[in-house]
């Protein structure tokens, strides 16, 4: 199968997706809206709709910033049936509401807590304080919970221009690090390698491997970052953010 285009049978021109095979056991689905926000919304609405359909043979449904990866077992679900289900999902997808709420994330900016704040300021040609101000003033939209281990990947146009990745990725980034890259941001849930720029650290824990649910934030949540002092950081209990919501 080469790339195909699927459309909503009801004929709405806006609901069209480009589907490409990702090997023989996965499809990569790109909504074709011009608007980035609509592509994100469509990818997540389609994912919710497919999850609800509970198809035998589907092994993973992963919507991200503007695409959706569907993994399946080709012995139990053939690609044509999956595409049919995807077309059906296109007609119902728009009706799924995404819960939106405001979640505040406290963090210490700069210094050892955000070693790349200086390079981000340098790249933008503004002061470190201006970077902090712009980062705090932005309403970041939680796009999805991704890698590693449920990291809340968020989006927002805080700086007007994309932030480049590090030329040499770090081998180990501490949990709680708040990082930016492109027009995106993330919060590390576990120590992990990565090439995004670290501008601060939150004392809160973003995942909860000892309980359920594993993460508390859901796509569509709005994240607002609130600066705190180093003293406040040390006084804050490192609790799972789900306990504060």
């Amino acid at each position: 199968m080469k790339e195909i285009v699927l459309s909503d049978p009801s004929g709405s021109a806006a609901r069209t997706v480009h589907v490409r095979p990702f090997g023989d056991s996965a499809l990569l689905v790109h909504p074709s809206d011009d608007d980035k926000e609509s592509r994100w919304r469509m990818a997540h609405a389609l994912a919710a709709s497919l999850r609800k359909a509970n198809l035998v043979g589907v092994e993973g449904i992963t919507p991200t910033f503007e695409s959706l990866t569907i993994e399946y077992d080709p012995l139990r679900l053939d690609v044509f049936s999956l595409c049919e289900s995807l077309t059906e999902a296109l007609s119902t997808a728009g009706n799924i509401a995404i819960e939106e709420r405001l979640v505040e994330i406290p963090l210490v900016y700069g210094g050892d807590f955000g070693p790349d704040l200086t390079s981000v300021a340098g790249h933008l040609g503004i002061s470190e304080n201006d970077v902090i101000e712009k980062h705090c003033a932005t309403m970041w939209r939680l796009a999805f919970n991704g890698a590693p281990a449920g990291a809340p990947m968020h989006e927002g146009d805080a700086f007007g221009t994309p932030i480049p990745r590090m030329s040499h990725p770090r081998v180990k980034i501490p949990a709680g690090s708040v990082a930016v890259s492109g027009h995106q941001g993330t919060i590390y849930t576990i120590p992990a390698p990565g090439g995004w720029r670290l501008i601060g650290t939150t004392p809160l824990r973003m995942n909860n491997p000892s309980g359920q649910p594993f993460v508390a934030l859901t796509p569509g949540d709005t994240l607002r970052f609130v600066p705190i002092s180093v003293d406040e950081f040390h006084r804050t209990e490192p609790v799972f953010i789900g306990e504060l919501l």
């Binding site: 991200t64 890698a147 359920q212 594993f214």
Partner: protein, 331 residues
């Protein structure tokens, strides 16, 4: 329900796992589970368990030893060296009934990387979100240590009436070698790697030391990319061959990060996923272009082998009245 405590005398590098933690990609949880799914399923079938029951996954570069205080029905599949029980040689890929205080030892293998032990009943694991799949990132799952006791529920078996510990049943033979050909198919960024598939099957790639259950590193000629644009993070399937900025390529296994923004010029086809899981650092691989039809044929043949194996085992276990009436024959 009856239970027994197996004594893990020498754990090497081994974990309790199952076929994976499915259904939580929206929470950022990767599937994990037995890297070589075929061998894990075959091991369970050989002891009358459901295919998704917990198994012990061991790294076959180190020896493994466990003792069973009571008779258990167990099997070993995947990559293993010599197998002995109290010094007596046994073969892999067959159901074996042990005797009281039997000591099972598995020597390191010459090739392949992962062996699987199934025991009739249910091996106790660290269950989280409906699965005991080992997840090193979130520190869930049961990593075995020397002298650890491991509980198995519903293990009870009767000595087979033929009074030998073995059955004339064997799972299909797996041939492991230090060189593995892998079937590959185009990935979403193939067009950004001009000529990637030309002559690819004649290139030999070495597997680097930085390989684990998340992926294996393929060293060798770097693939030049015609674009430099960054890719937004997206879900990546098992088998995806990523090209990270540091060069080389990484073929992803089941413990992979769920999402990533690296270009993917090719994907290891499903028919070769079990072989992919058996490649050890220092091995060589060649990447051979294949088609979905070929891949599905291979996967279907493996599936058929498992179905035939289950039928043979059911017949043999029923005829031998191996399972005590107090336990269910198929868990």
């Amino acid at each position: 329900m009856t239970s027994v405590e197996i004594n893990i005398r020498e754990a090497g590098v081994s974990v309790v796992t199952d076929l994976g933690r499915y259904g939580f990609t929206d929470q950022g949880l990767q599937v994990n589970g037995a890297a070589d799914q075929f061998s894990a399923m075959a091991a369970n079938i050989l002891v009358g368990n459901g295919e998704g029951s917990p198994v012990i996954e061991l790294t076959s570069i180190l020896p493994f030893e466990m003792c069973t205080p009571e008779p258990v029905l167990f099997s070993i599949t995947g990559s293993t060296g010599d197998i002995t029980i109290d010094g007596i040689n046994f073969t892999s890929r067959t159901p074996i009934v042990t005797w009281p205080d039997a000591c099972i030892r598995i020597e390191p293998a010459q090739a392949g990387l992962r062996g699987y032990i199934a025991i009739h009943g249910r091996i106790e694991g660290d269950e989280y979100m409906g699965s005991c799949a080992y997840d090193s990132l979130i520190n869930r799952g049961c990593k075995l240590a020397d002298d650890q006791r491991l509980r198995v529920d519903g293990h009870c078996v009767q000595a087979p009436p033929h009074m030998t510990p073995c059955f004339p049943i064997r799972a299909p033979r797996e041939l492991y070698s230090r060189h593995t050909p892998l079937g590959i198919m185009p990935g979403p960024e193939l067009h950004e790697y001009p000529g990637f598939f030309d002559n690819i099957s004649s290139q030999m790639r070495t597997v680097g030391a930085q390989s684990d259950h998340a992926g294996i590193r393929l060293e060798g000629t770097d693939a030049p990319r015609s674009r430099t644009s960054e890719i937004l993070s997206r879900g990546v399937p098992v088998g995806a061959i990523e090209v990270p900025p540091a060069g080389g390529m990484i073929a992803l296994l089941r413990g992979r990060p769920l999402t990533a923004g690296y270009p993917v010029p090719a994907v290891v086809a499903r028919g070769w996923h079990s072989q992919l899981a058996q490649i050890r650092p220092g091995d060589t691989v060649s990447l051979i272009p294949t088609t979905p039809a070929q891949s599905i044929c291979v996967a279907q043949r493996r599936r058929d082998e498992l179905d035939i194996l289950r039928k043979k085992c059911s017949t043999a276990f029923a005829a031998s009245r191996l399972f005590s009436p107090r336990t269910t024959s198929m868990i």
